[in-house]
């Protein structure tokens, strides 16, 4: 999956949050008006990279590293050959049997248990807009005062709504300095 498209603060992440956290959504059916529709899907994401989009309060995701301790290509091939052989010779039916009879202990409607991978992922999650602001500041080290206008390219590239821009700037470490007249306009300066 294109993880880069699923960064914190992106529209796609918001959509995934919304579909994971609610059972119904409003959308328009073909040839019909917008209506409420059921979204019973539960999401599993399998990736080569840790998630870079989790928000600090996000308890929707159960995050865990998936790795096999078996080293060496031949040993791995043998491991999976044996496992697949088991799956194909009644293993799938046994798994279905397990799922159908297992006594469930966890409360499926409670928050997912926290894992060390999740804590690490939350700490390292960076909003791409904030990252772009930081990049701009690094490239313009000599600039000490900025206005929102300096980041017009960033807003455009990330589709940042005007009412969230000052928060993104604050998250990038900029502090509000005051308002001052530049040319014929009053600007907020950071």
């Amino acid at each position: 999956m294109e993880e880069a498209s699923l960064a914190k603060g992106t529209a796609l992440y918001d959509e995934i949050k919304s579909y994971t956290g609610s059972d119904y959504t409003h959308t328009d059916r073909k040839y019909a008006a917008v209506g409420m529709h059921h979204t019973p899907a539960q999401l599993f994401m399998l990736s080569n990279r840790p998630p870079m989009f989790l928000e600090p309060e996000d308890r929707r995701f159960f995050v865990a590293r998936w790795q096999l301790g078996v080293v060496g290509a031949e040993e791995r091939a043998a491991y999976f050959a044996e496992y697949r052989q088991w799956l194909d010779s009644g293993g799938l039916e046994a798994i279905a049997g397990l799922f159908s009879t297992r006594e469930i202990v966890a409360d499926p409607y409670k928050n997912a248990p926290e894992t060390t991978e999740q804590i690490t992922a939350i700490e390292s999650a960076i909003d791409p807009t904030v990252a772009a602001i930081r990049d701009w500041l690094e490239e313009h080290e000599s600039v000490r005062l900025v206005t929102m206008k300096n980041f017009d390219d960033v807003w455009r590239e990330h589709g940042t709504k005007s009412n969230t821009r000052k928060h993104k700037m604050a998250e990038a470490g900029l502090q509000f300095y005051g308002r001052t007249k530049l040319g014929d306009k009053q600007y907020s300066v950071y």
Binding site: A41, L46, F62, R102
Partner: protein
């Protein structure tokens, strides 16, 4: 020519056709049919004629007449997802196509699934309850396919390839059934699946995940 149904054949061709085919739409006076057996849509009377002949009608004109006079149930354009219900569901007087189909894998609780548990412990670790949590959540979905979904998403990652993530996805697809699990490897695929599998055909939608029991993005 009379408008009376030809005498019933020994194998009751008209009723057999009516049990298998449903009218999905009219274009002018032409009907098109949905085949419950093969899942084909857009079939025309000429296709049903072929089936009638295969069922034993010897005369072409008689086959045409059977199809013309036989009553076929109408199929609503809505597609629904109703686990554990038949291929056509009757709701509020309408017959709708059910996207869900039973899995081909039949549960065998007497067989040991320890190899699967061992494999999950190999990849997730055996010591802190992760495997138990995953098994609980999967079992809950398996046992309660019509219950509201838990608001939990799973994210498994491993830098190293060849650790069995794809095998895991394939396993769930087979166990839950191919209509209950959808996989995609693109962002566009996520949106497409929401559009396709919510409850009908959507001309556009805001994106999201899937609609069935379990979705897998890899």
């Amino acid at each position: 020519m009379t408008n009376e149904m030809p005498e019933n054949h020994p194998n009751n061709v008209g009723n057999l056709l009516a049990a298998r085919f449903m009218v999905e739409k009219y274009s002018g006076s032409q009907r098109s049919f949905y085949d419950r057996e093969t899942g084909q849509q857009g079939l025309l009377p000429m296709h049903l004629i072929g089936v009638a002949i295969a069922l034993g009608v010897e005369d072409l004109e008689e086959a045409k007449k059977i199809i013309r006079l036989q009553y076929f149930l109408p199929l609503s354009p809505a597609i629904v997802y109703r686990p554990n219900k038949p291929d056509i569901v009757h709701e509020k007087g309408l017959n709708s196509m059910n996207l869900w189909r039973p899995s081909e894998v039949v549960p065998e609780p007497t067989k040991s699934a320890q190899r699967f548990i061992d494999h999950l412990q190999d990849v997730l670790g055996a010591d802190d309850g992760r495997v138990d949590y995953l098994l609980d959540m999967l079992s809950y979905r398996y046992q309660n396919q019509t219950a509201p979904k838990p608001h939990i998403a799973f994210y498994f990652f491993g830098e190293q390839g060849g650790a069995g993530k794809s095998t895991f996805a394939e396993t769930l697809t087979k166990v839950f059934g191919s209509t209950a699990v959808r996989t995609t490897n693109t962002v566009a695929g996520i949106k497409k699946r929401v559009c396709r599998f919510m409850e009908s055909n959507f001309s556009r939608c805001g994106g999201g995940i899937f609609s069935e029991g379990n979705g897998i993005v890899r």
